[in-house]
Structure formats: C-alpha cells, structure tokens
Amino acid sequence: MILKPQKQDFKIIGHFLGRVILSFGIMMALPIGVAVWFGEAAPVVDLSISFLFSVLIGLALTEYLPLPKNTEMSWSHGMVVVSGAWIICMFLGAIPLYLSGHWASYLDACFEAMSGLATTGLVLVQDLDHLSKGVNFWRHLLMFLGGQGIIVVALSFLVKGGPGAFRLYVGEARDEKILPNIVETSRFIWLVSLVYFVLGTLLLTACGYWAVGLGLKDAFFHGACNFMAGFDTGGFSPQSQNILFYQSVPYEILTLIIIVWGALNFNIHYAIWSGKRKELFGDLETRTFFVTLTIVVFLVIAGLARCGAYPAVAGLIRKGVYQAVSAHTGTGFSTIYVQQFVGEWGGLALIGLILAMGLGSSVCSTTGGIKMLRVGLIAKAFREDVKRFLSSESAVLTTRFHHVRNLFLDDKLVRSAALITLAYIILYLLGAIIGSFFGYPFLESLFESTSAAANVGLSCGITTPQMPNALKVIYILQMWTGRLEFISVLVLGGFLVSLVRGK
C-alpha cells in the first residue's frame, strides 16, 4: 500500500531543500566577484539577481518550513530532497546563463546548467568566445559544485550530522564513507578538492603562460576554469574550441593528468593523503580502470589506424589516446572537431569511445557511467562461476577482493552491481532509440545518448541549439538520472505518484 505524504513530510523535505538551495545560492557570490574583477557591469547585475533570488528561496523555505521537533529524515525524504534539489538548482543555475543572452532559450540555459551540475559538458551556448568572464566562471563553478555534489556542499556547511545527513549523502550516488562521520567526509572531499584546485590552477597558469603564450591574467582564468572542469571530469572550457584552443602538447598532457586524478575514488585520495600510496595499485577499481583503459585505447587506435585518420604515429597517439582517456574518465575535453568524430574516425574507433564513455571510472568520484568497481565485481563473479563449474561439487569457493579494505564477493554485491549496470545500458539504448526516432543515425544517437547519460560530454554533432526541444529534455533527464544513479530519481517518481494514488 502506498502512503500519501503528510504535511510533516512536506515540511521535512521543504526545509532540507531550503538548506541545499541556500548553500547553492551563496556560491553564486563567487562569479559576482569574478565579474567585478574583470569590470563586467551587466553580468554583475545578472549574477546578483540570480544570487538574491536563490538565497531568498532558500531562506524562505528554511524559515517558513521549520524542521518539526523530534523528527528524523527517512530514506524517502532524503532521496526526494536530493533529486528535487538537483532539478531546482538546475532552474536557478540557468538564470544567469539565460540573462547573458548567449543561450537561445531558457530551456537551452537549463540544459547547460544541468550539463554543468552533472559534470557532463554538452553545450548549447552560442558565441562562447564572447561570453563574459563572470558567467563563464559560473559555468565552470557549476561543474565544481556538481562534481563534489551540491548535497555535499550543504552537508559541509549547513546540515548537521546524523542519520538524515547520511541519507542525503547516499541519495547523491555516494554510498562510501571516507571518514566515520558524513559531515567530516563531506568536508574532507571539499578539502581535497580545494587543495588540488590551488595546486592545479597554479600548474595550469604556469603552463598557460609559458607553454601556451597566454597573458598572465588570462592564463590564471583559463587555468582555474580548466581545472574545475578537468578535476571534476566535466569538460567545459572557456573557449569554443575546447582544449584545441591552446594548440599545446604540454597543456594537453597536464589536463590528462588532472582528469585521471579527478577520476579516482575519493577514498584513494584519502589513502594517498594518509601515506598509503599502495592503495592506488592494489584497489580493484583502479586495477580494472587501467585494464579497460588499455583495451579502449587499443580499440580506438586500431580503429583510427584502420581508417587512416592519422597517417603518422604522433597524431594517432596525441589525438587517439587523449580522446580515449577523456571519454573513459567521463570528462569530455576535446582536441578534435565534432565533425571529425563522424567524418573521419570510423565505426571501430567510435565504438571504442562509446564503450569508454559507457564504462566510466570510479565510484565516489566525480565521474559518471557504470563505474569500474561494478565492472570489476561482475568480472570477478563470472570468474567465480566458471571456477565453480571446473571444481568438484563439494568444493567451497570464495572470492576476495580489495576495495578500500579486503572484502568477500557475495551475491548481494554482485546483484547490486549488475542491476545498476543493466539500468545504465537500458538508459543508453533508450536515448539512442529516441534519437533515432528524431531522424539521427543510430550509431551517432548511441554516441550522444551514452555521452549524456554517462555524463561525458563528447558530441558527434547532435547536440546543437537547433536540435529538437524534446530531445533536449530527454538529454537533461538522462544527465540527471545518470549522475544520481537512478535510485533517488525513481524514488522522486514514486513520491509524485503517491501524491495522487497514495492512501
């Protein structure tokens, strides 16, 4: 029997939604500072409107929907807050984008905002090369916030600990605690991200200034933006040519290092910070990642060599390896033109990229896709099953693996991994079928759908301001669902159904 939500449920959900929106709104002060620094008057006004509006909504919800005494947030409350907050933050984050005049419609601005928050990187912006620094910084900051998690932002500063905090944390597709307390875990994620932000920005600034030839102020701005988009495996870049703009092998190598670093599980970062560097090579997830990366790079390079896209080895390695790593880490940084994927890369290389995008990287990181831990668990389960058939009937087989700690492979883990993997594959195919319905070739539709749902951001040309509005909405839903890994989105759907059909 489905229970209809009561007034108390709305108060709890509304109150915590308010806290998340308030923390999101406060973050809008940062791009205002950037716009002031660069002397951009109109963007200051646009960003201020968005900041004030978001903070007002957040404050109003927390103030006029106070938390009832002696109540606890249930799992359903947590999931609804998370999935609802992501949609509301998309609408709020789109306001400064739309006001800038560089997006054809509010829907396009919402698409870009969700693409930023979900660290996807698909773009509908027009005339990006003349976009203000303030609004451009906001695009990249959306990736930084979404990559760490907008719930994690709220947990770090505005939500006290307790079981409710854990439920919010899990709702945002994170179920691994790094530290015993969720608030401490959230603050650690932010500490790591901010320390790397400072280091990464300095390195990219130096590289931009000396190797690329940018002026110092521009090198710093580009460095900060590219770090936020790279470490959070998002893929936005300040210019329309993306990483191709810099025409620099050293810059590409540095961004490669940053995106691989950002694709690692935050538990691995904690282990490295704690001096346990061996975790980097001993963890099932990182080992699976390096195996699949090798396979994908081989597939892509074989495909490129077969169709003669790059006659010289230097081009094969520079372009092929970069795009394969960019796809597998779910980043979407690009060093080739969109038209070249379809026109020159050939079917095998495209399939390699689709596989790379679909697999994704680490759980508890900034990446999307199926994730390597699940791939590793399923592979181990297959191996165990084959061993069982080859062993005597009386033999008792157990499989151990190391992920943060030593664990035994059990049916519950495998079932969970397989279910989410299946859900992702269905999501990729569903988007591909819908794209085909709109007249796009199936392989290209599959490429674009996988890129959206796995939050990668590479495009073969379907994502443009001219694409059908219905397809924009489908990709928004795919990005949202893929980022939150289904459960909280499905719970929100169930909650909405219970409003009508509950008793």
Binding site: F38, E40, A41, A42, V45, D46, S48, I49, L52, F53, V55, L56, L59, A60, E63, L99, D129, H130, L131, S132, K133, V212, G213, L214, G215, D218, Q239, S240, Q241, L244, F245, Y246, Q247, S248, V249, A309, Y310, P311, A312, A314, G315, L316, I317, R318, K319, T335, I336, Y337, Q339, Q340, G343, E344
Partner: protein, 163 residues
C-alpha cells in the same frame, strides 16, 4: 591588327585572373571535405579569438568564422602590428589568411590547421557596447529589499522565541 590582338590578349588574361580569384573557404567546408583540401592552398577569413599565442618565431592564431574556429600557424614577421583578439565586449580584428590547409599536420602531431603564407587585416576590431538594463538593476534592488526584510523578520522571530 597587332594592337587589336594585344588588347584582346590583355582582357583574356584579366578575365582568367578574375575567374581564378578564390573565395575564402569556411571551416565547415574544410572539415566536410578535409581530405580534398589537405595540402591545398586556400583562403580563410575569420575573427581573431583571444590573443595570438606566441611560440618563439611563430605564433598560433585562432580564427573564428560563422561555422567554428581554426588554428593558424603564422610566422611572427607576417603578423601585422597591433592585432587584437575578440573577447567579452570586444569584437576582434578580422583577418584573411592565404595558406596551406592540413587535415592532419605532420609538423603539429595530427592537428587540423592552416600554415599561413600571407595574412591581411580585413577590418579592425571594435567595442561591443553592452548596456546595463535598468529594469534588471531595479529587480536586483527589489530582491535585495525583500531579502533584508526577510532577514530582519527572521531575527525578530528568533528574539521573540527566546523570550
């Protein structure tokens, strides 16, 4: 008769020269027919985006036309003085480049680029005037006022609750 023949030949050669005069090719055309244009001498016209990226005796220019932006590898000696690239509130200088297009440049590890043989400024950049909308300023002030009222109300309610 000789003069008549010379005049005819003059106009014949002039017509041939005009007929062979090239139009700039767009980036979309280049990418759509990349193998055909690879190694060919073409004209490309576009706005300079950002600044020129200095690389010793050469520089990279990113030139954008309506269909996208292309990297142009140009010798410093060919660069006109005072080239200014586009950004927010500034439309950059528009230049036309005569150069060799490469689908996959062997010198630059597979990049799609244009090696300039000559470069000419078509038009100088200009400021893009952006007016601050007064209605938006009014909206910002209104929202600030509402926020301040909300904060005062919140404080008053907390003090009352403490009493």
């Amino acid at each position: 008769m000789r003069w008549f023949f010379l005049i005819v030949m003059f106009f014949f050669h002039l017509t041939c020269a005009l007929g062979w005069a090239e139009e700039p090719v767009s980036l979309a055309e280049l990418l759509g027919n990349a193998r055909k244009f690879h190694g060919e001498r073409i004209l490309f016209e576009g706005e300079l985006i950002g600044s020129s990226l200095d690389r010793g005796e050469f520089a990279w220019l990113n030139l954008g036309d309506a269909t996208g932006a292309l990297g142009v590898w140009v010798k410093d000696s060919l660069l006109p003085a005072g080239l200014r690239g586009g950004h927010y509130a500034w439309r950059g200088d528009v230049v036309i480049v005569d150069g060799i297009f490469s689908r996959v440049c062997s010198e630059h590890a597979g990049t799609t680029d244009l090696h300039a043989l000559s470069l000419e400024v078509v038009s100088r950049g200009r400021a893009l005037v952006e007016e601050v909308d007064r209605r938006r300023i009014a909206a910002a002030f209104l929202l600030s006022g509402v926020l301040i009222c909300l904060l005062i109300l919140r404080e008053w309610r907390r003090k009352r609750a403490r009493r």
